[in-house]
């Protein structure tokens, strides 16, 4: 049994436990590589039956177009139920990363949207693809993370997680965020994608793409909503994405890696961490922890 087998077995065990103890499970599906791996594991956990829960995608309307195409194809191919949710209040209010800044935008279009869709369907076990190696405050979150009726995370009051015996008891309207990939690293994810031949969004693979340089980061031009400033010039560069979020908030990295094997090789030689392309993590000190307390994944 190698490391990928160990991780796979552990994740399947977590997914099964949450489903066995929950009344209304759901999987947050963000279309990224971690979501793809998590979904793949869920397909295995209940094989030959489909996973007994829907996928939920919070659509901020600022996702890369290729992500939406990929999402719809994946759901179709596997025959799963997909719930998409957009915070229409935010859309009506014209909230965008350009007009409102990344913090307000994320609060309204992601965090608040997530709370609303969870309330609407009353899900009580919600799978997310977060990994502990991504960010310091994630390293301290439980695999089964209790949320009160307002979806808040209380880092000081977390239930102790003993052996493989989670305490999943809860009262009405309380819920759990469940993170089956807690112990995976970015490299593990890519090695597993390679081994299992898991489809991922093509944006992860390097290609010549139209980009501009802004604040030292390569932003891809995905549609006309990204307006060029006077000194900015569109150019074609070989870039790929290490992480996929909303397009004006996720920067590409220059890379020649055009296949999974090349990505694995690139990561093995790499010496920067993954979220350095995520602009929202830098907007405030301790920013991820604050977002999580408010209900962000």
């Amino acid at each position: 049994m190698d490391i990928l087998d160990i991780l796979e077995n552990e994740s399947i065990r977590i997914i099964r436990e949450a489903v066995a103890c929950g009344e209304s499970p759901a999987m947050l599906y963000s279309i990224g590589k971690d979501s793809s791996v998590m979904l793949h594991l869920a397909m295995k956990a209940f094989y030959p039956m489909k996973p007994p829960f829907p996928l939920v995608h919070v659509d901020t309307t600022w996702k890369f177009r290729e992500m939406i195409t990929f999402r719809d194809e994946a759901v179709e191919r596997l025959g799963l139920e997909l719930i998409t949710y957009t915070n229409e209040d935010g859309v009506a209010g014209g909230v965008s990363p350009f007009t409102h800044g990344s913090k307000v935008y994320t609060d309204i279009m992601k965090t608040e949207a997530l709370r609303k869709v969870l309330d609407k369907f009353r899900f009580d076990m919600i799978f997310g693809g977060a990994r502990r190696d991504e960010e310091k405050s994630r390293a301290k979150e439980r695999v089964f993370s209790f949320r009160d009726a307002t979806h808040r995370w209380e880092p000081r009051g977390q239930r102790p997680e003993l052996w493989a015996i989670p305490n999943l008891s809860k009262k009405k309207d309380e819920s759990f965020r469940v993170f089956p990939l807690s112990n995976w690293t970015e490299l593990d994810v890519w090695r597993y994608i390679e081994r299992e031949n898991i489809p991922v969004v093509p944006l992860y693979f390097s290609a010549k793409r139209p980009v501009i340089l802004r604040d030292g980061q390569w932003l891809m031009l995905d549609d006309e909503r990204l307006r060029l400033e006077a000194n900015e010039k569109m150019e074609m560069r070989m870039i790929r994405f290490r992480t996929l979020g909303c397009y004006p908030l996720t920067a590409g990295v220059e890379s020649e890696a055009a296949t999974v094997a090349e990505i694995v090789a690139e990561l093995e030689a790499s010496d920067t961490s993954e979220r350095c392309g995520r602009l929202i993590d830098f907007d405030q000190a301790g920013s991820m922890e604050r977002k999580k307390q408010e209900g962000y994944f």
Binding site: V19, P48, G79, A139, P155, L162, S182
Partner: protein, 638 residues
């Protein structure tokens, strides 16, 4: 970063007192093994010069201390996990806090780990905290502990200083052994987390030391070896079922799984927590003991002939069986025990103290049950490892106890199986995890004592009386009017030809509970005794009326749980405190206000009002006669 895929995972935890340098050690270990990406290193350089405590050098502790609050306080407050790869292996580090009050976090970390590093400041030597950390690791089943003697640079790498700590360690191990636990490995190593000596490379500053470096020691531990040695155990987690080829069936499942005739597919999903399983194996499912035969094994979406420890599998069985979540599948000849009376070790983790006699929910690999701590055998002093007498447990206390379960569960002693020998207790009202537990063995009385089959049973006695036995449980503040109403009710029932009995302070406190005082523990025991007496009397067919303040919700629900649901009527005499105090029939409120009576309910001890009593009467608004009428009406209706 490493180039090759790692072959194994080792989870280990680090523990030490505040300021022993845990975070610095792990940060330095990550740095020396090339596990810190360039951008994180940049942040570290920035933060080191801004808030660092390493005097201009890199403050590695900043890498580990994640949460905002603790960054400000400069201490680790929760379990943090870090990942790194070295020596062809992946390591998961659980960094756990050293504060005394955070024992629970350490136990939590230890439950997931195969090895532990215990940090000791060479200038301080083995402290009481060090002994406590070693005990917790040992109790949680960690058999390999490395004592990391840190800050050797502060004593100029003096061998004598190191040997002195080593001899204190030897004493610790001897005490642990006389307690009953023997570690497989308990080496000591001289290091400096600050300078990095002896962490990845043997240092020239310690020519007198010839042991492994810290990294070498970690690379040698073989994780989870007990799993392959122990007999097969598969706790059933979930039953996968559906119509073959029907709705919910995956699109791409090969025909081999779709039998031509259709029909129901059923597989028992769970993890092989120990041993191995193969197709055709004849097993038993516990607690029922029913024999089963493995027809096929699914490891994810692959059909396999056999699966080893650690595999998440789904088994299909020959024939149909009634197997549910919480059952354990095992070989017939090497099966777990099944019992409902257990001797256990526990670590209490909640602010609410433990009291013997209260009911909790038990969760284990072998399913759930209601549990009662029937006897607290002792409390273990975590520094001396001595067993002391105990009546209650506070947060972070370690103890040995006997528990009684509402149903027999399958289990193994924790020393033989860390998965099937473990449990947690959960508070049924708050859902808090109250303690973690390790099963030592079953109590023989559980296996041998059978309830005497009664030929005259309670329904026969009840029929003879001509009425239903009942408990009318009055609760309310002192002076609320409980006894007055209870007495009036008894005379009315008596005149109606009902056979009644009143239990109150006069006949209980002076007799049955003469040995009890008024501490919280004694009050709980008092109520427990009253509950048992009331139960016997209802078994005898009587209508039992009780009038006690009974201020705690947990105790009242304990009594409620003993009596059949239809026979328990909780009457909340909801007279406002102000009215009770004005009446002050016995002058007790006055005394309590003057501080002459400690623990007086409503004054300096809480009253927890019932959340859903069968009846509420307010004696300040309702006359005694009307109150009695209201109760009689409810009894007839019931």
């Amino acid at each position: 970063m490493n180039i090759q895929g790692e072959k194994s995972v080792l989870k280990f935890l680090t523990c030490g007192s505040v300021d022993d340098g845990k975070s610095t050690l792990i940060g330095h270990l990550l740095y020396l093994t090339g596990n810190i990406p360039v951008d994180q290193l940049k942040t570290l350089e920035m933060e080191s010069s801004r808030i660092g405590t390493a005097g201009g050098g890199l403050d590695f502790s900043l890498l580990m201390d994640g949460l905002m609050a603790e960054r400000e306080q400069g201490i680790t407050i929760d379990v943090a996990y870090r990942y790194f790869a070295a020596a062809g292996r992946k390591f998961i580090v659980a960094d756990t806090p050293g504060h005394e009050q955070y024992t629970r976090n350490m136990a939590t970390g230890a439950s997931q780990c195969d090895a532990a590093l215990i940090l000791v400041d060479v200038q301080q030597g083995i402290l009481p905290q060090t002994r406590r950390h070693a005990l917790i690791c040992a109790l949680m089943g960690i058999e390999r502990i490395l004592f990391v003697i840190n800050k050797m640079d502060r004593v100029d790498w003096d061998e004598v200083c190191f040997r002195r700590v080593e001899s204190q360690k030897a004493l610790l191990l001897a005490d642990l052994e006389s307690f009953g636990i023997r570690l497989q490995d308990a080496a000591a190593i001289p290091v400096s987390a600050l300078t990095g000596d002896n962490i990845a490379l043997l240092s020239s500053k310690t020519p007198w030391f010839s042991g492994d470096t810290l990294l070498e020691w970690l690379a040698k531990v073989s994780p989870g070896s007990w799993r392959t040695a122990a007999p097969l155990r598969i706790p059933v987690q979930h039953v996968i079922k559906g119509q073959r080829g029907g709705e919910g069936w995956q699109h791409l499942v090969p025909d081999s799984l779709k039998s031509a005739s259709g029909g129901t597919f059923r597989a028992y999903a769970g993890t092989v927590v120990s041993g191995g399983v193969a197709c055709g194996d004849e097993l038993v499912a516990l607690p029922s003991g029913v024999s089963i035969k493995v027809a096929s094994i699914l490891a994810g979406d692959r059909e396999v002939n056999a699966a080893a420890a650690g595999s998440a599998v789904a088994l299909t069985l020959a024939g149909e069986h009634d197997i549910v979540r919480g059952d354990i599948l095992a070989p017939a000849r090497d099966r777990p025990e099944v019992a409902d009376q257990l001797k256990v070790r526990i670590i209490w983790m909640d602010e609410t103290p433990l009291f013997a006699g209260r009911h909790y929910d038990l969760y284990s690999a072998g399913g759930t049950a209601r549990a009662e701590i029937t006897r607290l055998r002792n409390r273990i002093e975590p520094e001396s490892y001595r067993r002391l007498a105990a009546h209650t447990l506070e947060k972070n206390d370690i103890a040995e106890a006997e528990i009684s379960l509402s149903r027999p569960i399958p289990f193994d002693p924790y020393g033989e199986n860390r998965e099937t020998g473990a449990f947690i207790l959960v508070d049924r009202l708050t859902n808090a995890t109250l303690c973690c537990g390790m099963i030592l063995h079953s109590l023989r009385k559980g296996e041998n004592v059978h309830w005497q089959a009664e030929t005259v049973d309670r329904s026969k006695r009840s029929a003879l009386k001509g009425h239903q036995p009942q408990v009318i449980w009055f609760t309310g503040l002192s002076g609320s009017g409980k006894s007055t109403i209870a007495n009036a009710l008894e005379s009315r029932l008596s005149s109606m030809g009902r056979h009644t009995m009143i239990l109150d302070g006069d006949n209980i406190r002076h007799g049955l509970s003469r040995d009890l005082g008024f501490t919280e523990a004694d009050r709980i025991e008092n109520i427990r005794r009253i509950g048992e007496v009331a139960k016997l009397m209802t078994d005898a067919g009587l209508i039992v009326i009780t009038a006690f303040i009974s201020p705690f919700r947990a105790e009242r629900s304990l009594v409620r749980a003993m009596i059949p649901e239809s026979e328990f009527i909780e009457v909340f005499v909801d007279t406002p405190l102000q009215v009770c105090e004005e009446r002050d029939v016995k002058g007790l409120y006055k005394k309590a206000r003057n501080g002459e009576i400690p623990n007086f309910t409503g004054v300096n001890s809480p009253y927890e009002a019932p959340q859903s009593p069968e009846l509420v009467v307010d004696a300040s608004k309702l006359s005694v006669e009307d109150s009695v009428e209201k109760i009689l009406k409810f009894m007839d209706a019931g």
